[in-house]
Symmetry: C2
Subunit: 418 residues, 2 copies
């Protein structure tokens, strides 16, 4: 069987399973999730064995240390998968929720019912625990899933898939509700993103290059997260302590996350009193600063930023710093160079806080809080499948609700249009 | 200037205008809408003159009567545009609405703010009044718009665009907030749908062929309406009077609309007592019936339906009729052959009503009501830019809210992640 036929078969099975999973009871879905957790707990040895094959192949292929680290299934990561499944089982089920039910002048009663999207295709890179995370969120939100992980994790992903199938079977749900692509042929991705009859939406997770390619080639909608070029703007009326704490936290709490600050904007009126102290903190923490020309006048020992720096997601202990003359210039910079992810203003001024919230075109806009809060757990979503930088459907952290949509429901007593 | 450069210029202007229109006061947007209405009222002669050029060109090119009818700007249609603008001005402004504002354990306060999508591209066919309708909805929802109408309506559309610009200017809003493409070169469409830097979403309005081409070639998200293959299912426990009234209304109230019933499903248990009476009514109204083999046993004088009939949107006095053995078969037929638009069950049975609402995968699902109610005005949206048969973002009639999205807003007192 060739790849196109294989993917079509997965698609047909997923479409059929999506009908069953869409109407599955919350209790059955939860039982499946808990049974998956138990199956993973009981299969630790098999999981580690499979993972060791992937690790050995990876070493043979010369994968770098960071990639091997992401690939590894440690006991702690297996614990994490089990805990994650139990957490998703405990989350409220969004499916079937009816809101805004009201009578219309015609006598019909109109409301909106939350419904699954149908079949979700997930494309991701080396981390095998994504298999479990993504499958659990899609299942709880009533969707069927086709997962396509990185080829370097194929044995790990298949071992996890076996546990997932056990869980589905234990709850009497179709095993085809979660399918993990069993071929490493790259053509499988090309097929998955061009089957609108079988796949309703694609969620890619990985580097920007992968996501751009998928968005460009897909023939189905894509919920995507491109990059996180997040800003903190220290306003002229910022509380200095809050400004320092947030600027340090947003940059240094973790370097590799998408909600980490990459550019610091400082009102020129307070730059001289703020930047030297901040620069000392950053220096102690090993953060390299790259400043605009006016920043260099205050901090002559740092490197100069180029135009490219304003549009770069470093994911590293590097920070671009730019002076601006007031909030409007800060907002213009953010809307031009940012990635519409998460941006914060530090100010005590009510009017500026209000305007910043309205005018910054990002999925999360904050006043006096660290950009690091832009996260599904911090937002109370329970879990997230990713953070969307798109403008339609879902913006920001995407949890269970982001994997659903709403249809209209109409109740009548025989009404007809006149 | 070539078409690509021209479209890029429109795109840049639209992006810049979208920033201004996104933060425009509701009052200013309403003043612009009312000033547009006044400008159209004062320009009736110029509008009719421009339209006459299009009509003459259309007749010279041999456009058919239906197309010429859609192209014509009659006094009543001009009244309709004016009235539509005033209605949109009277609708509540969705932009900036904040919901679900709650404190999180970290101390941050988290909510969702409704925001415009940014720049919306509208591609449509011959009806020039769409220019006015679409522009008004996009403006009220805080979006900039680039409109590309049919080449046969170019003079009419440019005359309407002049009135729109007058209205924007009168309210002090940027005239580039609504731009009507001034070239009839088909390449303009290709450019418009492949400028993700300047256009956030495309809304095509027109025939299925046009929409499929656009969805296939677009590099930006598309909110689309493919077709309306709507069903009424008469259950074994239907109230006969309601069943007859709704089956007649859903088919014959208007033939050319997307929410018109195209296939009637009848439970075989009540077919013999229902179909002959229904067939008499349809015959009187000039509706051609095409039945499945079992329908032909009850109505031997009608035509036989082929497989193709189940997947056809007739938009005409033709109705496919199929007998099913119970609701599950009806739902399976609808989910397989329907277009996920609008489908209704006629039943007095509580459990079946509940299951039908949940299991039918359509943007509107109804119990004991005519499919003809699936409409922005009937649903109280005030106006609609179209009916989406997509599954992400917006399903069903798309009003002002469907042209917006939600971003997260976070209010803090200096909180940082620990």
């Amino acid at each position: 069987m060739n790849v196109a036929e294989y993917m079509t078969e997965l698609g047909e099975q997923a479409r059929a399973a999506s009908r069953e999973i869409a109407r599955a009871d919350t209790g059955d879905k939860n039982r499946a999730l808990l049974a998956m957790a138990d199956a993973i707990d009981a299969s630790r040895e098999a999981l580690v064995d499979a993972n060791q094959k992937d690790m050995q192949n990876g070493r043979d292929k010369g994968l770098d240390a960071a990639m091997l680290d992401r690939l590894e299934l440690t006991p702690a990561r297996i614990d994490g998968m089990i805990e994650g499944l139990r957490q998703v089982a405990a989350l409220p089920d969004p499916v079937g929720g009816i809101t805004d039910m009201n009578y219309r002048p015609s006598g019909i009663q109109l409301g909106k019912m939350r419904v699954p999207l149908g079949v979700i295709g997930i494309i991701y890179e080396s981390r095998p625990n994504v298999t479990c995370e993504a499958a659990s969120l899609c299942l709880k939100s009533g969707n069927a899933t086709i997962l396509r992980g990185g080829s370097e994790a194929i044995h790990s992903n298949q071992a996890i898939a076996a546990c997932i199938r056990q869980g589905l079977e234990a709850a009497g749900l179709p095993q085809t509700a979660v399918q993990v692509v069993a071929t490493t042929d790259r053509e499988a991705v090309g097929q998955l993103i061009t089957m609108p009859d079988y796949v309703d939406v694609i969620v890619p997770r990985g580097g920007k290059g992968l996501i751009e390619r998928i968005a460009n080639d897909a023939r189905v909608p894509v919920i995507k997260h491109l990059d996180g070029i997040c800003h903190v703007y220290i306003d002229a009326e910022a509380d200095k302590t809050k400004a320092l704490n947030i600027a340090i936290n947003a940059k240094t709490h973790r370097y590799g996350t998408c909600n980490t600050m990459e550019t610091l904007l400082v009102d020129s009126a307070v730059a001289a009193e703020t930047l030297p102290e901040l620069a000392d903190h950053y220096a102690q923490l090993g953060v390299e600063l790259r400043g605009c020309a006016r920043t260099l006048e205050i901090l002559p020992n740092i490197n100069a930023a180029t135009e490219e720096d304003w549009a770069t997601e470093y994911l590293a202990p590097v920070l671009a710093v730019k002076l601006v003359d007031g909030m409007d210039e800060a907002i213009a910079h953010i809307n031009r160079y940012g990635s519409h992810h998460t941006d914060a203003i530090i100010t005590e001024n009510y009017t500026k806080a209000r305007a910043f919230l309205r005018e910054v075109d990002s999925s999360s806009v904050m006043v006096n809080a660290s950009t690091r809060f832009a996260d599904g757990f911090e937002y109370g979503l329970g879990a997230e499948i990713g953070i969307s930088t798109d403008k339609i459907h879902a913006r920001g952290p995407v949890g269970l609700e982001g994997l659903t949509s709403q249809k209209y429901v109409v109740l009548g007593d025989g009404q007809v249009r006149v």
